[in-house]
Assembly symmetry: C2
Homo-oligomer: 159 residues x 2
Amino acid sequence: MNVIDESGILAISTRLQRLAETLRKDGVLIYKANNIDFEPKWFPVIYTLHFKPVLSVVEIANEIGYTHPSTISLLKELEKEKLIRSKKDKADERKRLIQLTTKGQALIEQMKPVWEIMKNAAAELTNTQNNLMKAIAEVEEQISQQSFLARAQRLKSVK
Amino acid sequence: MNVIDESGILAISTRLQRLAETLRKDGVLIYKANNIDFEPKWFPVIYTLHFKPVLSVVEIANEIGYTHPSTISLLKELEKEKLIRSKKDKADERKRLIQLTTKGQALIEQMKPVWEIMKNAAAELTNTQNNLMKAIAEVEEQISQQSFLARAQRLKSVK
DNA sequence: GGATTATATGTAGTTAACTACGTAGATTTG
DNA sequence: CAAATCTACGTAGTTAACTACATATAATCC
């Protein structure tokens, strides 16, 4: 056990990031092992478009919880891969409407069994006494009620 | 509720990263609100040196779970801030031994009450039905027994 | 004890997110 | 209805991690 793991909650951000990185890297390898040319970072966009077939850039950004510049750079990659295409919104010329290409839809069908495997593998990992997915959702709920900063301010003034 | 939050475990890496980012940003603001010139990303190094006062670059990297190039760049910043200093190891000329400066030690003393507040604020956030810190530790334990990739491979062949 | 291998550190370049800023088109308002 | 504001998108530059490669010293092994 190292000092950081022992430092408890203070290093929580570091530990979340480390775990995210570990899982993301294995994700790359799992796609590769199944002969699928896909990067985990594309998942949020593709998955979103699978359920909401036509969205603008900002709508996608909001759905996946990224800033719009980050989303634009993801969309550029996906357009280069010919997994998505875009067209101007006739009703609002500022908007660019994004949708999956046939190739994109076909890839999703190809990925579905792999997603099923990933889902089961991840469920094994997280099916412990304290469920990680639930814990994340609960903490996000707590934050939405009062942020980490606001809580710190309150606790400081009480002291 | 957006598509990603609904996608469940498949977007686990994205959600971990998002939560880490949210907490890190508030961390910056909490230090600032307490008039402390400190960045959360420095925490792992400083905290480690607080408990193990003299370490080499690679030893620190291992303690904090980063690669050594990442560690070197953190150490450069901290040296510029005069929070740490380094000297060659007489016994092994390859090694550079790192330790806190007086300024670094003083800063730690100044930060201790803020760490206490952060600890309490974070405990509030994570003290839910499924404890996030415990969940992380449990998942890391699961991974150490068999990786995400290895589990996916096994589940695939079983199918 | 010289050659090989391993370890410690460092540098360069990449990646994937971010913030800040700019522009074009849509909406609101005095 | 012109001016001001807002919204959508895009670009530039930054950040903080990474991998890959290079070099110097130490340890190991015929």
